[in-house]
């Protein structure tokens, strides 16, 4: 009787031990990206458009990672501008978007364009986050305070205070030539930007 009672316990303990061993052996798939917060699948778009192609791009001045303040109007007559809003630092798709643009400088140069990356995070957060991306050639701007003001002006501030994953292509006259408020869960392909820059 006593032995009979012990059998399930032995099976239980054995299962736990085996499970732990197998998990430790095969479950170690977390080498790098433990710092990335996984929000799950989100509502693709959660904002109301305020701008359309052909509108004048609203001007803004935002602090950048390099310490200087960047204004959109400073590029008027000089450069085409691509603005890449990404929702937030330390989130999955965003962390794998700008590093791709970082190896595409030649493409932007070819079309006399600059890239401005904007999130609603503050500068220290952006600093820590972008360090994993290597040396970024483009400006990273903080739309932290007043919180999301520029994202709101561009109609891409979501209801929870982060921005959409959105691209705006603005020509040298300051006119918006392309808008892509993308599904927040997916990354837009690079050639989309290239095709729009080709048209300028």
């Amino acid at each position: 009787m006593c032995i009979k009672r012990k059998v399930p316990f032995i099976v239980l303990i054995g299962s736990i031990v085996l499970f732990s061993i197998v998990s430790m052996t095969f479950g170690v798939m977390h080498t790098f990206k433990d710092y990335i917060y996984q929000p799950g699948t989100l509502k693709p778009v959660d904002s109301i458009p305020k701008l359309k192609v052909g509108d004048k791009a609203p001007d803004f001045i935002l602090p950048s990672l390099s310490g200087e303040k960047i204004s959109l109007s400073s590029y008027l007559g000089k450069k085409n501008v691509v603005i890449s809003f990404v929702p937030a630092a330390w989130t999955p798709v965003c962390s794998d978007q700008w590093p791709g643009y970082n190896i595409a400088k030649e493409i932007f140069d070819k079309y006399d364009a600059i890239l401005l990356g904007i999130t609603v995070d503050n500068i220290p957060t952006l600093y820590a986050w972008t360090r994993q991306m290597g040396n970024l050639w483009f400006s990273v701007l903080s739309d932290f305070w007043p919180h999301g003001e520029v994202a709101a002006k561009y109609g891409v501030l979501r209801s929870n205070g982060v921005s959409e994953r959105a691209l705006f292509v603005i020509d040298k006259k300051g006119i918006i030539r392309y808008i892509d408020v993308h599904d927040i869960n997916d990354r837009p392909h690079l050639e989309v930007i290239v095709k729009e820059l080709e048209k300028l």
Binding site: R5, P8, F9, V11, L12, S15, I16, L18, F19, V22, S23, T25, F26, G27, M29, T31, F32, K33, D96, Q97, P99, G100, N102, I103, A104, I107, Q132, M133, G134, R187, H189, L190, E191, V194
Partner: protein, 193 residues
């Protein structure tokens, strides 16, 4: 009562164990086989020749004319893959300059979620000498268990056309020479090299 609870927990834990084991025996586990994935035969004659493929539409990994194929699953958007690129090029060069290995070990890359254009940007930026394949819709990535990048898989191809995964790990290869030595050892090519 205690007996019933114990049996219940034992059953649950056994199920979890089986699930864990099922995951562990996915195609990318060392000793397993690689998913039966078709890739487009490269248009470049040089790349076709490198892989020893006939001029047809598609191929599977065991059709590559080699004894070992090393696959890197990467993304042009992944900064770690960008950092890894020179090391993987070094691995290619170590193999290429060794006449005993040149025809036995082949490298390919699969760009998870990358379009042909994006793969091309990656290839040009880092002067990658071996064939890269786009996986725009994550089809291959999903078949490989949605691994993170960079992920390296070594596949030994046997004379009879069967194959076996001999290496399957997330992260940097660390050192090209040491990685090559490891692949030689795991594949049994060391004696031949």
């Amino acid at each position: 009562m205690i007996k019933k609870i114990s049996i219940f927990f034992a059953t649950v834990m056994s199920c979890l164990l089986l699930m864990d084991y099922a995951l562990a025996t996915s195609p990318l586990v060392e000793g397993g086989i690689f998913p039966d994935i078709k890739l487009s035969v490269p248009k470049s004659p040089d790349e076709r020749s490198y892989l020893g493929l006939p001029d047809k539409d598609s191929f599977t990994i065991p059709e590559i004319k080699a004894k070992v194929v090393v696959i890197e699953i990467f993304s042009m958007y992944c900064p770690y893959c960008q950092n890894e690129a020179p090391r993987v090029n070094e691995l290619y060069n170590l193999i290429d300059k060794n006449p005993d290995l040149r025809d036995k070990i082949k490298l390919i890359g699969i760009g998870a979620g990358n379009t042909p254009f994006e793969v091309d940007v990656f290839k040009k930026t880092f002067n990658i000498p071996f064939p890269l394949f786009p996986d725009e819709n994550f089809r291959i990535h999903k078949a490989c268990g949605e691994v993170r990048t960079p992920y390296f898989i070594g596949i030994k191809i046997n004379e009879d056309g069967t194959h076996k995964v001999i290496y399957s790990k997330l992260g940097s290869i660390q050192d090209a020479q040491q990685f090559l030595d490891l692949i030689l050892k795991l594949s049994g090519l060391k004696k031949e090299a």
